[in-house]
């Protein structure tokens, strides 16, 4: 039989134990809290190194670039079809010369690294100046005082399409962007007038002085133009949002002009389109009808939509670009609204922004980030970085994009884009003839569109400065590019 003392002892020890476990819990919880905090912090650090570590090298405030360039020679840039578009030649004494075998062809897109850095040369800089060669090679090079071969960048650009686009633009000023709808891969990007990056250092001062031609400007991303009738895509989208169920019932009688109080605008060349619905207004690019639509749009909402589409916003681009400034709100006057809805007046846009909007129409509302780099390989062929397509934004619903695709198909089938009709592939798009001064004959020729119309693969956006109507001058260029892409020459 246990004595009283025994029982007391047993009680007290079990009490002690209970007390101890209770006492411990808060300390253990505190340990877990801090461990959790640190796991988060280490995770963040790994994420940072993995995703943006390389980018850090590219900032001009980071002086570590010089360390890398003194140790490594600059890597080669290839087109996606395996052609060298930029490479560094080393002389006996280790001096580097950057060579651009295609001269003017890639002047703005691949850019140069000899007088500052532009284009892919700028965005891929951190990869090009790093060298992931094997350890033994690194040491061998260091012993013999040679530079390591920098990593090589494979771009998404295709030399064939770039050549077609460049030739098609000819001596005209303007810009062309060609990209894959589903991935955002940029296949060609041309801006004219172009220059020879091999001689940029010598030619620099001449280009800087030549303000009339702005040779160094990459018109595809930096050129700001009146969108003209291509803007009717946006006006239509606003109208569809305003009348989601009955937009197809829209009717208007065009007598070649539209008057609202003091303000009057004309259709292109004063053409009288007669009774039109939305699809016909769009296909025939009837200014009067779109002015009529524009004046009835709720302006605050319209302004908000413009922002969502990218007006006044930054774009997902790693190269120099301009922001397309256009803002509309309740205070916008009727006169301005009429002009804006047909892409004139205060409306302005860069080709790249228009191209992104077209891509979203072709891509069921989704637009991918424009990709210029496909992968980075070390000189030994090991993969350093593989870039993957990335969604940028959803600009509209699938239904809205489907309606707009139908409207754009109509342009080719029975409107201003008929030069793309009856080919082995189907195409869709919108033309524009943007007047840029008050002498009525001068207009920029626009076309933005995609092919095939039903299942879009490739999209193009074209502007030719001061040449005439989009249907006559921009659409044939689109045809040559589509022909090149689908191999139907």
């Amino acid at each position: 039989m246990p004595t009283k003392r025994d029982r007391n002892e047993k009680d007290s020890t079990s009490k002690k134990r209970r007390k101890k476990t209770r006492k411990n819990r808060e300390i253990i919880i505190s340990i877990y809290m801090f461990v959790f905090l640190f796991v988060g912090m280490i995770g963040y650090l790994c994420h940072f190194v993995n995703t943006s570590g390389q980018e850090m090298i590219n900032y001009s405030f980071n002086k570590r670039q010089q360390i890398l360039t003194s140790k490594n020679s600059r890597g080669t840039i290839y087109s996606s079809d395996g052609e060298i578009v930029a490479e560094s030649l080393l002389s006996e004494d280790g001096k580097e010369t950057r060579i651009y075998p295609y001269d003017n062809l890639f002047s703005h897109t691949v850019g140069f690294s000899t007088k500052g850095r532009t284009g892919i040369e700028a965005m891929a800089n951190s990869y090009l100046i790093n060298a992931h060669v094997s350890l033994t090679e690194k040491v061998e090079n260091e012993v013999s005082g040679q530079k390591n071969h920098g990593d090589n960048v494979y771009s998404t650009l295709r030399t064939d399409l770039q050549q077609i686009a460049s030739k098609a633009l000819g001596v005209s000023k303007g810009a062309i962007i060609v990209s894959e709808v589903k991935t955002g891969r940029v296949l060609a990007m041309v801006s004219k007038p172009d220059f020879n990056p091999n001689t940029i250092v010598q030619d620099w001062n001449g280009y800087v002085k030549d303000e009339k031609n702005s040779v160094l400007l990459n018109r595809a991303t930096q050129g700001i133009y009146p969108p003209g009738s291509t803007f009717k895509i946006i006006t239509s989208l606003a109208y569809i949002r305003q009348h989601p169920t009955d937009f197809s019932q829209y009717a208007f009688t065009c007598n070649g002009h539209f008057t609202h109080g003091q303000d009057k605008i004309n259709c292109y060349h004063g053409t009288v389109h007669g009774g039109v619905d939305l699809a016909e207004s769009f296909a025939k690019s009837c200014n009067a009808s779109f002015a009529n639509i524009g004046i009835g749009l709720p302006r605050d909402q319209f302004g908000k939509m413009l922002q969502e589409l990218g007006f006044g916003q930054n774009l997902p681009l790693n190269m120099n670009y301009s922001v397309s400034n256009l803002s509309v709100d309740g205070a916008t006057s009727d006169e301005d609204m009429i002009q804006i809805s047909i892409g004139q007046g205060k409306a302005q846009i860069t080709p790249i922004l228009l191209h992104l909007i077209t891509n979203s129409i072709a891509g069921n509302g989704k637009v991918m980030k424009p990709m210029f780099m496909d992968k980075v390989l070390s000189e030994d062929g090991a993969i350093v970085k593989q870039f993957k397509p990335e969604l940028y934004k959803t600009l509209m619903t699938e239904e809205e994009s489907r309606v707009l695709r139908e409207l754009m198909t109509g342009v080719v089938e029975n409107g201003t884009g008929k030069r793309l009709r009856g080919l082995s592939y189907t195409a869709a798009g919108k033309t524009g003839s943007a007047e840029y001064n008050h002498v009525k004959e001068d207009s920029h020729a626009w076309f933005t569109g995609f092919a095939p119309a039903e299942e879009p693969e490739i999209s193009v956006t074209i502007i030719v400065e001061g040449i005439g109507s989009g249907g006559d001058y921009a659409v044939p260029i689109a045809k040559r590019i589509f022909d090149g892409y689908f191999g139907t020459n």
Partner: protein, 462 residues
């Protein structure tokens, strides 16, 4: 040959550091200190190899023999510490001793690489500090009346911080340092330890509302003086330290959550009140927008880490000196740049292991007062690391505190060494407690055994 050593040592150092870190968590598989001896010895070897390779690489590249001498002195000092600690205090926690020496080694490698003359200065301070650190555990262990001195702690703490506020040196708008006859000290570093004693002495007996209010009041005075001195980093550390000790002493989640709530509100209010807080937050949100001004420091730190990447640029091959205040506030970024992010992550884990060890010691202490000190010091230590590293990698806004034991700075390194040795003292207290318990149990058993025998005898007699 020289190039091979320099290039290979980069990878070797990262690899050995991984082994070291692995061992520091691997030891926990044994409960018994004795079984852990193998791990501890391996850790010492790894530590030696890392320091050797680093200094070899530095010497080869700089071609200056001083680095060899420095290395020799450093190793002698660290070796003596490791041996003396285990000789004087056979019951000491050797993992903490190893970690302490490891972090000191990393610090010396980087300081020597950045500024050799400062490394010598730091070495003298560390040598003296280590001697002090060797004595401290004895006092903690034997002076049991320390728990009654809360009034003294409060006076020293508030007086010390107040003196800096009133008569401190102004550097970049904040008053952190105090100059006595050419020697610059940072009192908040030492008051951290006294502060941990203060809170523990107030809360160990009871957490009745009066005690809580008194402790909250005294803690608040500390924090507010620091805020007024614009030493935001220390203010946050003191605040968090108090919060967790209170939480563990009271076992009341309400205190913890309301404390975090009050802290958050205070942070928001200070954002609107103080322009220097706004500047820090702006630099955190978008450092690249102000890359040449407020964001300069943090972007340079990010450049360093990003350029260094996983394996680093190699010692002496980066430009960590581009980061302003790299020696005190951005040592982590310098380590990450040249020794690599893998190495840097291992270093974080070593710090975390120190914290877990301190808290484990707290966990096993029977004496409430000692337990709360261990908790307070542990939390203060780990939160400071969180602030400095988190700030350097843009995980949180920058506060400008040192990385304990690694950063350059006498006050910081001395106070951290004191902190570690106080914890050592506590650990020895725990060992004693255990011994006592075992003896008591033994006595108890003997008593029971004797009782039984007596009863048996009684029964036999009947």
């Amino acid at each position: 040959m020289q190039h091979y050593i320099v290039e290979l040592s980069k990878y070797a150092i990262a690899f050995i550091m991984c082994l070291y870190t692995f061992e520091s968590f691997f030891v926990f598989r044994h409960d018994n200190e004795l079984d852990r001896t193998g791990s501890y010895i391996r850790q010492c070897i790894y530590m030696f190899l890392i320091t050797l390779l680093s200094f070899a690489s530095l010497t080869l590249q700089r071609g200056e023999i001083e680095y060899i001498f420095f290395f020799a002195f450093l190793e002698i000092a660290l070796f003596s510490v490791i041996v003396l600690f285990s000789m004087i205090y056979p019951l000491c926690n050797r993992l903490l001793v190893n970690h302490m020496c490891m972090l000191l080694s990393i610090g010396f490698i980087m300081i020597a690489r950045l500024d050799f003359s400062k490394a010598i200065k730091q070495f003298v301070i560390v040598a003296v500090s280590l001697v002090i650190a060797l004595i401290v555990p004895f006092f903690v262990h034997n002076l049991r009346f320390l728990k009654h001195l809360w009034f003294l702690y409060a006076t020293i703490g508030i007086g010390g911080l107040g003196a800096v506020l009133l008569a401190g040196q102004v550097t970049h708008g904040s008053k952190i340092f105090y100059s006595i006859q050419g020697v610059t000290i940072q009192p908040s570093e030492f008051i951290k330890i006294i502060y941990a004693f203060l809170i523990a002495s107030l809360l160990y007996k009871s957490t009745k509302i009066t005690q809580v209010l008194l402790s909250a009041f005294l803690a608040a005075i500390h924090v507010l003086i620091l805020v007024a001195s614009r030493d935001l980093g220390s203010a946050v550390i003191f605040f968090i330290g108090y919060l967790f000790v209170l939480f563990i002493a009271s076992r009341n989640y309400l205190y913890l959550f309301s404390g975090i709530g009050i802290g958050s509100i205070a942070a928001v209010v200070s954002y609107y009140l103080f322009s220097h807080v706004q500047v820090r937050v702006q630099a955190f949100l978008d450092p690249f927008a102000a890359i040449d001004k407020e964001g300069y420091q943090i972007t340079q730190s990010l450049f360093a880490i990003g350029t260094g990447s996983w394996f680093g640029m190699g010692l002496n091959r980066g430009t960590p000196n581009d980061i302003p205040y790299v020696l005190s506030d951005f040592m982590f970024s310098a380590v990450a740049e040249e020794m690599g992010v893998i190495f840097a992550i291992c270093m974080i884990l070593v710090c975390l292991s120190c914290f877990v060890m301190m808290m484990t010691i707290a966990l096993s202490l029977q004496e409430r007062f000692y337990q709360l000190i261990a908790v307070g010091l542990g939390v203060i230590y780990i939160f400071q690391i969180f602030l400095t590293i988190g700030g350097g990698i843009k995980f949180i806004p920058m506060t400008g505190v040192t990385l304990p034991l690694v950063s350059y700075g006498g006050s910081s390194v001395l106070s951290t060494l004191l902190m570690f040795s106080v914890v050592q003292g506590l650990y020895i207290v725990r060992k004693d407690e255990q011994k006592q318990e075992e003896e008591e149990e033994l006595e108890e058993e003997e008593f029971l055994y004797a009782n039984k025998k007596r009863q048996k005898r009684k029964r036999l007699n009947f």
